[in-house]
Symmetry: D2
Subunit: 372 residues, 4 copies
């Protein structure tokens, strides 16, 4: 100990170990009921009981993630990972209804979201501010019961108390927004030219986030004309069809003939890898969020070694630096999410909600589960 | 040598060692003619002759810097530094008229600005991308003839070719804009709350730069109500009179009770030092550009050591990372400089130009010296 | 959620919520029994009872810190901070004897040390890997009962399980060693020239740490000839008496005439501040651990602003990055601590132990409280 | 301009534009005389004439690089890159014999090495301290005449004046040593566990550099038993045969079951890529220097994205940060190069020199060309 500083402020979070009122014993929920397509709506799922360090949250709204599509469609990944019988879903906003006996950081009544990556807190990354890449992560709605339900329990360490200025609809999608913010902030876009390959949900979020976070010119690619238009509306200087001729040369030319400073790869397409790195200048930074379906044959020598490039693998969101960054961006009014969160359905219309998302008609689709 | 990569592009800058036309032998200029107040307008100053590695630039427009005020008023600093007889001024835009015999990087006819910090290129900082803090820097218009004149010579390494999209008026003030950009970028403001103490010329530029570079909420302080208004127009969430009560508590409160992420100190006032650091959260970053008139008694233990703060001394602009950042911010249309560059006068009205700047009536005042 | 990765390894820390055996109800301890000089030895202090998230640790060995000297001597700082009646001390090694009902990360029987900075875990720094500078930190042995006793309780988040290769004597002083490691690592010394002003306990530790962490030449200053000799033994290229002539010029000369890359200020002396910064090159990094008795008049303009220096306030140790770094340095055998940990006394000889430390006869003095 | 600081020291490098004595008109040299195996010794090569910004250096000693082996063997890469007729070689030490008319930074008589990457100085990387990855690099002995000759010319910006403490034999190989230093320093090894896959010349240098630069435990792999032994002698904790069983699990186990902090890939082998990344912990840093013969099929999703890894492409050496780092490491006596620089031959025995290097009998082989 070398310092004598008194605590600047004696924050002493109070809490109540009771509940806010009556919690029912059963609830409505979407269950991955069989090893096949779809989810099942039930109204008699047992309400979970929080452990001593957990909180019980009443879910208000939930976002449907690209991952939920995989679970719905029961592809190879889902079949290999998801335990049949769990409640799925992991993007949400809710109200704390009950706290465990050893809870000290949360209070009944708080409006919250939560980080879905749950770790034991004992490995290197968990203990150094990088729990998002802990080696023992278990994820809400993937490895254990999630939030397509009226109630969910999470460890109090995972809870994120929400700023009053953030509306429920936005709070419900802070998980994927956090992916975009983490990608953008990890790469560092301030006063830099940026190429975003792939403008799916997170790619589109990355456009408004990159603009808010200080990017200079933003270039995007997508095969879908509507998403290209939307990315321009959100701040892209130009949006290219990746199949068009010469767009890489055009991007390079507009960046002193050298290429963009930053690549945010959000498609997982091997072709986008090649195109994106071809458009990147020597010494540039590439942040990789997209997930190729199978290992690509990647010219790492040309694209990374000779270029002196920096490549960042992006997984989840920083716990909790990314959440603080999101909060600052949201409360300063710099993000445009209205055109990204396109649809909202009641939980009971979950089939329509999933169909709207899967068809591409909707971008981010939210389900409302309860009122405040 | 470990790599086999072929050059990606064979940039081979051509140049002409002639001139673009007739360069006269004498010129109009403002000279620091005596050890006292003011400058003298002359029309028979000898046009400088570029050395083998220099270029001769015909000056179009020039900005008046706060430093030029010190030189005009001949305060203690100026009396101790400025050689009587030199041409002053260092912010400018111009056209290359002639290149020295060994010049390889510049071409006659290029529209350029230039970095005013001239170094021998042999010390650690000069050889590692930090020439702006070289130990042997000599500055245009301070240690040698500057740019309040029709012509100036600078080493070709110092020349900055201008992007077509940047208008002359803005190009003329890239030197102080670069101070603001360097301060903002060194601190790192992306998705962070920022306090700027002091909104003089560079402080105001820092407001628009911080906003463009991705700051969340920006708070400013200034004793001048007009500048507070202008800082809000440029993007500040709030602008405080530093003499008002409780503003520090208000700022801290709006930042989770912890304080702002970033402090940009641009006033040089010891009181602002104390206030700014009091408003800074633990672990925050403070970038110091302002220059106290005399060494302040600074509670470095409380403000820096206990807080675990990072303090960055800011001097000049990075050569040339800052210039690239400015270019990207300018050509992406993110900076609002129209209300900062308030006045323009012909060179002959230099007394009025200086008076307008010194009185505070004008903010950034530009003198036009020649047409394109 | 954007990623599909399965946990690489399913670490599932087991624990027992019982005890390892019989824990007595009272214990030996050193108590700050009155508002004056000294400590009182008692043998009937109640053994603390761990809360649901706490562990009870049986203390084996404890280090005496410079802070403990302030508490012993009851200076102004101690009188203003320390609650009379507490058990003091915060550097230690011990064995977990009991775990609280909600503990999941610790196991009875583990040999551990612990981070003495206890936070509520709710502010920005606590949630982003920087709990060492949390705004609500309470410190073992300063704000609450410490470890000069047979037993202590700490929250399980603060526990550091010890690598088998680290002997008890060293484990007992990982707290101050962590100060040195945090300072050295924050500054970054790899392949750099380093000046350490002040070689008290932590300064001497910083010499061996800096050498191990990759510093090039290390220069030190101290008024005490014996410590200068020891610093050379530990790896310093030269050790100067700060009162001698020309040593700053000598250091600068040996560093290309420009100055050292890194300053580690460990004395808290205003003169050392001036000397250290005078020896630092432009663009250098200064890490400040020493604590001036009162705010110094610091020429921040010359020493920080013009130099473009980076100044880092150092407080505590990173939780827990510093501890991982320490472990790696210790188990790779790179640190020489034998000549720094000079004395060991049984707890009952606490007066002799403190006197040995206060007189300067000993450097780091350890008290043995129990056997394994 | 915002700062008033006077230059701290007025370094004013003098120079002589004459020569140190008589320079002959022809010289001994090794020429790539035909599109096939081998080099030709000639003794009537014209001595090059420095341009206005160049210096003429009399070569004392030269190192043989792995690249020179490719040129000797005339493989596909060499056939596609090397202009027949050039003098090859790029690692060297020499004395400046003559300076061009516009040279300001160098002096006749200086003992120097030089950076072999020559750029026009106009692109982003050249102007921001990263000329080593400039888009227009031309390399000594590859794209233009090199240093297997009595004389060579290089631009003065490329010259590195040598510290007196660095012997000629070491100075001759600062180019490849710089590759190792750049790799190690880019990754950052201080207090970290490090795996080096592949201990060829640069890999072995990386072992001693990593140890000197502050690495904790160093693990290496190589198929050659002699190199494994040598890497242990130079500081590796363990050296594995990459074909042995379980070595990856052993490395992970010894690193908390999580993996090493840092991977330095120096083999270019696709298998080593897979092994190295498998041994790397989540959130680890991989620096890639080795060059795969063809694009590998790389599981970037598992190895980079999910792990949240940072991957750094390494090319050349930073100009000139790496050279300063090398100097500090060398003059502080921390590098062990005696067992790496195994052989020295006179230029005339170039065939034996190349054979010794190609056979693997020698590690780093140096040719002596002239005496001081």
């Amino acid at each position: 100990m070398s310092t004598f500083a008194k605590p600047v402020s004696g924050v002493s979070p109070s809490h109540r170990t009771g509940t806010s009122g009556s919690v029912p014993s059963t609830m409505r929920a979407l269950v991955k009921h069989h090893a096949g397509v779809g989810l099942q709506f039930v109204n008699d799922r047992a309400v979970p009981v929080p452990g001593p360090r957990d909180v019980l949250i009443r879910v208000l709204k939930a976002g449907i993630c690209g991952t939920d599509r995989h679970i719905w469609e029961w592809d190879a990944w889902a079949a290999g990972r998801i335990p049949v019988g769990i409640v799925t879903g992991h993007e949400f906003v809710g109200i704390i209804e009950k706290v465990g006996t050893a809870v000290t950081r949360c209070t009944v009544g708080q409006r919250v979201s939560a980080e879905g990556h749950i770790t034991a807190g004992v490995d290197f990354n968990s203990r150094t501010g990088n729990a998002h890449i802990a080696s023992d992560t278990r994820i809400l709605g993937i490895d254990r019961d999630g939030i397509f339900a009226e109630y969910v329990t999470v460890p109090e360490e995972n809870v994120w108390p929400l700023h009053d200025k953030i509306p429920d609809k936005v709070a419900a999608v802070m998980d994927p927004l956090g992916n975009a913010v983490h990608t953008v902030m990890a790469a560092g876009v301030s006063a830099k030219s940026v190429l975003i390959t792939g403008t799916g949900i997170i790619g589109l979020m990355a456009v408004t986030v990159a603009k808010a976070a200080g990017a200079g010119r933003i270039f995007t690619t997508d095969m879908d004309a509507r998403r290209r238009e939307l990315s321009k509306k959100l701040g892209a200087a130009e949006a290219f069809d990746p199949r068009s001729n010469d767009w890489i040369a055009d991007v390079r030319k507009s960046c002193r003939g050298e290429g963009v400073d930053v690549l945010l790869e959000m498609s997982g397409s091997p072709a986008a890898y090649d195109q994106g790195f071809s458009a990147l200048r020597n010494g540039g930074v590439a942040a990789l969020l997209g997930i190729p379906a199978k290992p690509p044959t990647f010219n790492i020598t040309q694209h990374v070694v000779f270029k002196g490039a920096t490549v960042l693998g992006i997984n989840g969101r920083k716990m909790f630096e990314t959440w603080y960054q999101m909060e600052e961006l949201l409360i300063s009014g710099k993000l445009e999410l209205d055109e990204i969160i396109t649809h909202e359905f009641p939980l009971e219309e979950f089939e329509k909600a999933h169909a709207t998302m899967i068809s591409g008609e909707g971008i981010k689709v939210v389900m409302s589960i309860a009122d405040r």
